[in-house]
Every structure is written in structure tokens, then in C-alpha cells.
């Protein structure tokens, strides 16, 4: 795992650079009224669609690298697959926010990112030789987390060598994601018009779904990536088996990227260039809630800084730095109330999935 520390550092530095580059000038606000439709267009064209395209590029690279590895199961080729898997997993942190429209219709979030993965189920599937990866039962034996186990378990290479069914399982997992992603990607071309037109606040409008999923994804990052492993839901007993990407030890990088993508969406930053655009912060400013929008921005910065302060993997920190992780969790927790309660109610959006009869 040590060999990754340089890439880790470089990556973190890049991300930090991005974060800084997207910070907005607090210059004079122009007086034209805020336009939610324009914000949704920015989010669709400069964030969601590029993020899906980027993930698609990364998954295609993963597939071709894996095919090469399947033909020649060398440690060099395994290393290439690992690198492209990691790139795809990081790219996924942006796409997973948008669990509505085509992503939800295709059950893509659950199929791609469910963890912890069930290693016994994976081995059983391989041993059986035939499996339906789309079945509900296999939801935790597929996706990017399943590959964490296959690619990074102890002596990973030795399991692939001379074991075709095992190697095929990995390919099947990748190709399942690729084919679903193709569906999602082309569905978004059609859904774009619906999305940018749905500016309403009824619970089924795309804007409400965006806000709801933004909140849900943030809470998921807080709970699944940090809270549950460090014991917040288990009487303070740590649960290392719930750590995301436990085998590869990339949990912190995934957490950081997840929070960072949520942060970039909040500021409406272009996915590729990082250039600032219309985001939730602009909407809050328009509603005379500059205090709130500033607080949320500062909180995000504090969370990202805190994540950067850890030098070990999440599992290592859990063994040695319980109080540091508690501080991180409290920072994450403290932000929820601003996003879920203050921001959402300022927008006049209802935090509920149920389309109700109103009152």
C-alpha cells in the first residue's frame, strides 16, 4: 500500500487545486434576478453530463485494461487494471450524487456502488460458474466494491492465474456496469430537456429530486463512508468490515472525492474546467441568505482540510486516532443541518420522496 502514497499525494494536491480554483469572487452581485432554469442548465450541461461521460471513459478504459489482463495475467497488467479501477471509482463519486431520472430508473447507484461487498457470495458465484449479476441477491457482489476485493485481496494475482471462471467474474462485473452506463448515458440525452425545464418545487420535479439526492448523497457519505465503520451506529464498536474499499485502502480518497464533488455541485463548478457557474450558493445569495451560503462553503472547506490531515488509511486511523475521526464525523454531521434544513427550506423544496396531497 505504501507504493500508492505518492499518487495519493499528487491526487490530493490536484483536487485541492481544483477546489481552490473554483472558489468564487465575492465581487459585487449583479442585480438581475436569479434564474433557476439557468442554474439547472449549467448543472446538466457542465456537471452531470460531463461527469457521466467521464465515468464512461474511465469504465471503458477499465474494460479494455481488464481484457488485456485477462489475456496476459501478469502483475504489470494487474497494476494497470488497478489504476484504471481507481480512476473509475473516483469518477463514480460525482455520478452517484445524481440518483434520479435515468440513474434511478436503471437502479444504477445501487448496482455500481453498494458496499461492503459480500466476498463469500462472490466466491460462491465463481464456484457455481453461473450467476445472475442483476438479481437482488447479488447486489452486494457486483460493482466497483466487488472489484476492490478481486483486485486487492492478499495475493490477488495468484487467484487470477490459471483460474478462468474467477477472471471472467471480474469481466462480467465490469461489463455489466459498462452496459448499464451506456443506457444511462443515452437516456440522459433525452432527459436533459425534462431536467432543465423542471424548476418546480413539487416533490417529483427534477429540481426537488436534485436537492433531495444532493442531501441524501451527502448523508450517505457521512454515514456509510465514516459513521458506520467508526462505530456511530453500533454502540461505539468499530466495524472495519464496513469500510469502503477496505482491501485497497482508498477509503479516505473516495470520501474526499465524494465530499469534494458535492461541494463543487453546490458552487455550480464546471466538471472539467472547475470554472464557477450558477450553483446553490448563488440561489441562496439571491434569497438574501449570504450568511448561510458562506457558512456552508466554510464548513465544506473545514471538512476537506480535516480529511487531508489524516496520513494513514481509514482502517489505520481507526486503530490509532479515534478522536480525530470523531472530529471529522462531527464536522460532517454539523453540515447536514445547514444543507438539509436551512438551505432546503430556503429553496422552498420539500424534503420528502412522497408526492403528497399537500395542504
Amino acid at each position: 500500500m505504501k507504493s500508492f502514497s505518492r499518487t495519493t499525494f499528487l491526487l490530493a494536491a490536484c483536487l485541492l487545486g481544483l477546489a481552490v480554483s473554483c472558489k468564487k469572487d465575492p465581487g459585487p452581485e449583479d442585480s438581475t434576478p436569479f434564474d433557476k432554469g439557468a442554474m439547472l442548465t449549467n448543472i446538466a450541461d457542465n456537471i452531470i453530463i460531463p461527469a457521466i461521460d467521464d465515468f464512461s471513459t474511465k469504465i471503458n478504459a477499465l474494460e479494455s485494461d481488464y481484457l488485456q489482463f485477462q489475456a496476459d495475467r501478469s502483475s504489470v497488467n494487474l497494476e494497470t487494471v488497478r489504476e484504471s479501477w481507481k480512476a473509475a471509482y473516483l469518477s463514480w463519486q460525482a455520478v452517484k450524487i445524481f440518483d434520479f431520472g435515468p440513474v434511478r430508473d436503471n437502479g444504477f447507484k445501487g448496482a455500481t456502488g453498494t458496499f461492503p461487498t459480500d466476498t463469500v457470495k462472490i466466491e460462491d458465484n465463481v464456484a457455481a460458474g453461473s450467476y445472475n449479476l442483476g438479481s437482488v441477491a447479488n447486489a452486494d457482489a457486483i460493482g466497483l466494491p466487488a472489484l476492490d476485493f478481486l483486485l486487492y485481496r492478499v495475493n490477488a494475482l495468484s487467484y487470477f492465474v490459471g483460474n478462468d471462471p474467477y477472471t471472467t467474474y471480474g469481466l462480467d462485473v465490469i461489463q455489466k456496469m459498462r452496459s448499464e452506463l451506456t443506457t444511462v448515458q443515452s437516456a440522459w440525452t433525452g432527459y436533459r430537456a425534462t431536467f432543465i425545464a423542471a424548476t418546480g418545487t413539487s416533490t417529483t420535479s427534477a429540481f426537488s429530486e436534485l436537492i433531495n439526492e444532493f442531501n441524501r448523497d451527502y448523508e450517505l457519505a457521512k454515514n456509510a463512508k465514516v459513521g458506520i465503520p467508526i462505530g456511530k451506529q453500533s454502540l461505539e464498536i468499530q466495524l472495519p468490515e464496513y469500510i469502503e474499499a477496505r482491501q485497497s485502502g482508498f477509503s479516505f480518497e473516495l470520501l474526499r472525492e465524494s465530499v469534494h464533488q458535492i461541494y463543487l455541485l453546490y458552487f455550480g463548478c464546471d466538471f472539467n474546467t472547475g470554472a464557477a457557474g450558477l450553483g446553490f450558493d448563488d440561489y441562496l445569495n439571491q434569497l438574501d441568505r449570504t450568511d448561510l451560503s458562506a457558512t456552508i462553503g466554510t464548513n465544506f472547506q473545514n471538512i476537506l482540510n480535516k480529511i487531508d490531515s489524516f496520513s494513514g488509511t481509514l482502517e489505520e486511523e481507526m486503530a490509532t486516532n479515534v478522536s480525530g475521526l470523531d472530529e471529522l464525523y462531527n464536522l460532517l454531521q454539523g453540515q447536514v443541518v445547514y444543507l438539509k434544513t436551512d438551505m432546503t427550506s430556503a429553496f422552498g423544496v420539500l424534503i420528502t420522496y412522497q408526492d403528497n396531497d399537500g395542504d
Binding site: T199, T201, Q233, E236, L287, S345, N356
Partner: protein, 428 residues
């Protein structure tokens, strides 16, 4: 009603609201009302459909009205997370319809049982329905006489700005003057519309406003069938002549031969029991909305005496609630994943309503008490746990404030109508 019930079933709400949840938030004193097992829950809805059809055609009217009232009220009593003023209104109206003989003309019952045919009906039969509508409007108007509504134009300011992408009128939606205009106009409308409807001279103009007002609210806000219910209900204010004309037109459609028409008359007989019961009903209706004066503190914040009071579209409340299970034996605590116990609607409603917070704390205690929890290789026998919560709430666009602090074992609190001191005080 027919439309409402069909809509409810078609949208799959029977399943999401009354079959899927694991727990239900019953009303104080009505916790014994439980949902039926699984798909049996569709039964009351099917009965309501049939009953609504029967009421429309005037077939077995009394039984149908009674069935409708019973089924509708039963469903409403199951879970207060789904409380809506207009459901309460439908319950009351169907209760009243059960009592008035609306099957004495232009109905299938008169064909089956010709001897019940009457062309006239007692004044109170129509009067009580008018009274009920008046209560809804006037109290909705009185409820709007508060500083958030009149001085800050909240929550309308929040709700209206969200519509700034509407064609033509969109750019007004972000303007403060519009929010104030809507707030004041809505308040005046609610307070006075009934009196205009009662006036023979102004009635048709007033009805124009009724239609306009409810159409606007239907267009802008997610309020479901309520506008339609009110638009059609208020027709009761029109004179009997008006209704006769409409019926004559309908009759010609059905080629019916009836020519006699119902006409309201003042009852001559002494009906002391009826008038006594009517007085009781009227008094209850007039007093319930005012029960909030018995409680100290802010009505919107504490929600003591809030329901059943025609406080329609009055506040925008959003909350974030984290519940904790505390094991007294080991001093350890766990955060509760609310989604494991509640639907999102329930969680959303619970987070801002103190009585539901107590109910939820009790659900949690009952669930964990006596349970053995396994985490890793450790085992905990949970006995008599404490339930704490940290809850933040934002009211009408204000920054969020602490609503419930983590220092009260919520599972030990009494669930009654007394003032709840454990809710943090509201600060302007």
C-alpha cells in the same frame, strides 16, 4: 370524493402510506386504530369508491354516506403523518352528509322507495353544511392573522419565489410585493368570502373569486384535490332556485319525468334533540381551533393545538432529527438510522412535531428493550435503554434553531395534551 379516492389509489398511495410502513403514528386516544393486513388495506378504499358512486346516484344514500364516513375516517386515523386539513374537512362533511337526507329528490332511492320523496328539506340540513364551510374559511382567515404571514409574507415569499421560472408571471414571483399581496389578499379572502357568498346580491361575484382563488392555489402549490373540493362545496351557498335549474338541465339529460323540486323551509316541528345536538356540534367546531390559547409559547414552533384548526398553508417547517440509543449498562450510545423504522414522509413529519417525536422515541425503546445486539465479536443485552435526540428545525425561512436537545430521555416523557416543556424555546 370519487375523484379523490381514485386518485389516491391510482397514485399507489395505499401501498406507500398504509401497507409499506412498519409503524404508524396514531392519534392520541385512537392508537387502537390499526391498518388491515397487507392488501386487505385496499378494502376500505374500494368500499369508499362504491359508497361515493352510490352517494352520487342517490342509491341507498344513508348507508353509503355512513360507509364512506366510516372508511374515510378510519383511514385518516391510522397515521397522523398524513394529516391534512382537507381530509379532516372531508371526514366532517361526510359525517354531516350522513345526517342530512340528500336522497329525497333526483335519486335512485326515490325510485326504489317512492314514499321518501320530498320536495322540501329542513333549513338546518343546508344550514349546517354552510356552517361547516364558513368555519373552514373564517378560521383559515383568523389563523393567517399572525406576524409571519402579514408582516413578513412568509411562508408565501419562500413558496412563490420557487416559481420564478413560470412563463409570463415568473419574474414577479421573486418580488416582495407579490408575496405581500398574496398574503393579505388570501387572508381577507378567507375572512370575508363567506359573508359575500351569503349575500344574494354579491353571491355570483363572490363565487367568481372562489373559483379564481382556488385555481391559483391549485396551480402554484402542491395541494392536491383541496381546491376542487372547495370550489364544488361552496355551491351549497347558491339559492335553491339555482340548484333546481341545474337539476332540470341534468334531468333533461337523463329524460327523467320528475318535476317537483326541493325547497328549503323552516322546520315547524319541535326537534329539541336535533337542535341540542346541532348546538353541541357547532360549539365543538367553534372551540377546537381556539384551543391553542391554552398553551404557552409559539404555536407554530410547539404545534400544541395546531391540527384540526384549519391552519392551511401556514408554515414551512423543515427539521433534521438524529436519535440516539443510550445503553445505561455500558454508557455507550448509537445513532439511529431513522430510515430503518420510518418512511420518508413519516420521518419528515416526525422531525418537526413534538407529539410524534415522543411516539417515535417509544417505538425505538420498545424495539430495543430486551434485544441482544451483536457488533463484531461483542454482545450487548439492552435493558431499559434511554432514547435521546438532537433536533434542529427551521421555521418559515428563518435559520435553523435547536428544537430538542440531547438531555431528555424522550422515551420517559408522557404523551398527553399538556404543554411540552422539553421543546427548546423559540427565539425570533
Amino acid at each position: 370524493m370519487l375523484f379523490g379516492v381514485s386518485r389516491f389509489m391510482l397514485k399507489g398511495w395505499v401501498k406507500t402510506l398504509y401497507i409499506d410502513p412498519q409503524y404508524y403514528f396514531g392519534y392520541l386516544g385512537f392508537e387502537w386504530v390499526k391498518p388491515l393486513e397487507g392488501s386487505l388495506m385496499y378494502l376500505p378504499f374500494i368500499l369508499m369508491l362504491i359508497a361515493a358512486l352510490c352517494i352520487i346516484f342517490g342509491l341507498f344514500y344513508r348507508i353509503a354516506a355512513f360507509t364512506f364516513f366510516l372508511c374515510f375516517t378510519y383511514v385518516e386515523l391510522l397515521d397522523k403523518s398524513n394529516y391534512l386539513n382537507h381530509y379532516y374537512f372531508v371526514s366532517l362533511m361526510s359525517f354531516l352528509m350522513m345526517l342530512v337526507p340528500a336522497n329525497r329528490a333526483f335519486s335512485l332511492d326515490t325510485r326504489l322507495f317512492p314514499n321518501i320523496r320530498r320536495s322540501t328539506t329542513d333549513q338546518w340540513h343546508i344550514g349546517i353544511l354552510k356552517f361547516q364551510l364558513a368555519v373552514v374559511y373564517v378560521f383559515a382567515g383568523i389563523a393567517k392573522l399572525n406576524s409571519d404571514w402579514l408582516l413578513d409574507a412568509q411562508p408565501l415569499k419562500t413558496w412563490l419565489q420557487a416559481h420564478h421560472n413560470l412563463p409570463l408571471v415568473g419574474e414577479w414571483m421573486q418580488q416582495d410585493w407579490l408575496a405581500y399581496a398574496f398574503s393579505w389578499a388570501g387572508c381577507l379572502y378567507d375572512l370575508f368570502i363567506v359573508f359575500f357568498l351569503l349575500s344574494n346580491r354579491l353571491r355570483s361575484y363572490a363565487y367568481f373569486f372562489v373559483v379564481f382563488f382556488h385555481f391559483v392555489t391549485w396551480y402554484l402549490f402542491p395541494i392536491g384535490v383541496f381546491p376542487w373540493v372547495m370550489i364544488f362545496s361552496t355551491l351549497i351557498f347558491f339559492s335553491t332556485d339555482f340548484h333546481e335549474r341545474m337539476l332540470r338541465r341534468l334531468r333533461s339529460l337523463f329524460r327523467a319525468k320528475e318535476t317537483s323540486a326541493p325547497r328549503a323551509i323552516t322546520s315547524g316541528g319541535k326537534r329539541t334533540i336535533t337542535s341540542f345536538l346541532l348546538t353541541v356540534y357547532i360549539c365543538i367546531q367553534l372551540l377546537i381551533p381556539f384551543r391553542y390559547v391554552l398553551y404557552p409559547g409559539d404555536l407554530f414552533w410547539n404545534e400544541e393545538g395546531f391540527r384540526f384548526s384549519w391552519r392551511v398553508m401556514l408554515m414551512h417547517k423543515e427539521g433534521y432529527a438524529t436519535f440516539y440509543l443510550y445503553d445505561k449498562e455500558t454508557g455507550r450510545e448509537s445513532e439511529i438510522n431513522n430510515a430503518k423504522f420510518l418512511t420518508r414522509t413519516q420521518e419528515d413529519q416526525m422531525a418537526t412535531q413534538p407529539d410524534m417525536i415522543i411516539q417515535y422515541a417509544r417505538i425505538l425503546k420498545e424495539h430495543y428493550d430486551g434485544k441482544v445486539l451483536h457488533y463484531g465479536d461483542q454482545k450487548f443485552l439492552i435493558e431499559d435503554p434511554a432514547i435521546y435526540a438532537k433536533i434542529y428545525v427551521s421555521l418559515n425561512g428563518r435559520p435553523s434553531q435547536l428544537f430538542v436537545d440531547k438531555n431528555v430521555d424522550l422515551s420517559l416523557l408522557p404523551y398527553n395534551l399538556k404543554h411540552r416543556e422539553w421543546v427548546q424555546p423559540f427565539e425570533e
